[in-house]
Symmetry: C2
Subunit: 300 residues, 2 copies
């Protein structure tokens, strides 16, 4: 199997290594040519300097896996790719693209005869060695054509990857996966904070997280991660309490608004992140001012 990977960040690089180690021929392109040259030296991939060279190295129908960031980078790359690829070639989009854009890419690329596959990828931290969970959207025939690569990238040939629906379905399910993940993390964090704040018991949070990973109903990969972190220290003195908000979370809340169906906890987990980012909260200032005024008046 021959496959091109564009965008050699952490996940792109690890994917290239994992595929290469199963004897795939990998053509790699990144704006930073140092990365591709190092990967060529280390793993025997073929580094190329531009998209034209990339296309020349591939036998049709070509398979190009994009790992550049979603949004503008992906948009620009796909425009360039349509100029150099031929009909029946395949573009796989492994970024966190909004599913509405994925649906549009599917139609636009089909206009050039190019097949589009959107792949939501989870588990990238340990993906190189343990494989990626892959949610695949697109038409069945194309998914079957690229399945040899999916079987290598997944944790096992027969599990951890699935064709979940048409164009956009892969990125839609990844969005939901991410918002569930963020919600779970919030729940775990609140629970452990209640333990931490209950000072009279002097709980060992690392011990508890590890304990719960063995046979309790909350055993999970996220708790496992928390256990590893908490074992290194539970005072968190050097951690700034600022939590980022991935765009997936906002999209999931939009989805709830769009559907007019409740997702109160997922939405509130997102609000909680905004709150963490807002040291100078105007809401809290205004509330404080109003309460101070009310207190002064009742005293006065």
């Amino acid at each position: 199997m021959q496959i091109a990977i564009i965008g050699l960040g952490k996940t792109g690089t690890d994917m290239a290594r994992r595929l290469r180690r199963c004897a795939c021929e990998i053509i790699a392109f990144d704006k930073n040519s140092q990365i591709t040259r190092r990967l060529a030296a280390e793993e025997g991939i073929i580094a190329v300097n531009d998209l034209k060279e990339l296309v020349r190295k591939l036998l049709p129908p070509r398979v190009v896996w994009s790992m550049v960031p979603g949004g503008e980078c992906t948009e620009d790359l796909f425009k360039e790719l349509t100029k150099v690829l031929d009909a029946d070639d395949i573009i796989i989009d492994g970024s966190n693209t909004h599913y509405v854009d994925s649906q549009r890419y599917g139609s636009e690329l089909a206009g050039h005869g190019i097949e589009y596959i959107d792949v939501g990828m989870s588990g990238s931290v340990q993906g190189l060695n343990q494989g990626y969970c892959l949610m695949v959207g697109g038409n069945k025939k194309t998914v079957q054509m690229i399945s040899p690569a999916l079987r290598i990238l997944a944790p096992a040939a027969d599990r951890g990857w699935a064709h979940v629906g048409t164009h956009g379905a892969g990125h839609f399910t990844k969005m939901i996966q991410d918002t569930i993940e963020n919600g779970m993390m919030q729940v775990i964090a609140e629970g452990f904070a209640l333990l931490h704040n209950k000072e009279d018991f002097e709980f060992d949070l690392g011990q508890l997280a590890e304990l719960w990973c063995n046979g309790s109903t909350i055993s999970s990969q996220l708790l496992d991660g928390a256990a590893k972190l908490l074992k290194d220290g539970q005072d968190l003195q050097n951690i700034v309490p600022f939590v980022c908000d991935p765009s997936d979370d906002r999209w999931a809340t939009f989805q709830s608004l769009d559907q007019k169906k409740m997702a109160p906890i997922l939405s509130m987990a997102l609000q909680q992140r905004f709150n963490s980012q807002d040291d100078e909260s105007y809401v809290n200032k205004l509330l404080a001012m109003m309460h101070n005024k009310a207190n002064n008046q009742s005293i006065g």
Copy 2:
């Protein structure tokens, strides 16, 4: 090892079986003598008819594991036990007792020279075959004395059980474990509802849950359970949307109020359960009435 178990519900019965199969001598008492007699026939446990007989069958220092429900039943049982047990005997409380009561039991029983151990137990559905996750509170020496039983009941001798602190620590941590579990379940449910409501993709929810159990960051025992349920059907036509609210959840919210520390998602997951129980919500009626009135006036 010799151990008495009082209260042979699902978990008490499974515990008795698991201990018995590792050659423990089990003395069992339940108000329903049919249960203990059946268990005697099936597993070779010793069924007794009252607490006096139970005490006579045990060699001191006696170990009595209570699996009656927390609250009044436990309170009453401990009063009876103090009349028949001797100093240095041990009572283990495997119920979901509120940790403040567990702390009080620790002191009160100590007044009679009786050792008290509170054990939070998780994983009771599959406990018989896979073992229980055990959070143990009490003094170190007593925990060591009962550790042979803990090593059998846990998933493995050296993991899945831990001495987490003094009297009450076992039940406090179980309360937190339960509220994390309930929060996680709410998050999973909201995520899958967003998938279900997005009708144009026609997602197979069972497929997705199973997929995510293989290598995704949200893989967890709860998702595994959801996968099994959703594979049997995802329309849920015969399910009444009424969700119970275990007392642990309310206690965890009290804990947050007591600490004056935020736990917004855990608290809201509980509120969401109240909401599910309230078909005739007075809040919603009142809001509907106010909005109807406002609309009529603006039209008029």
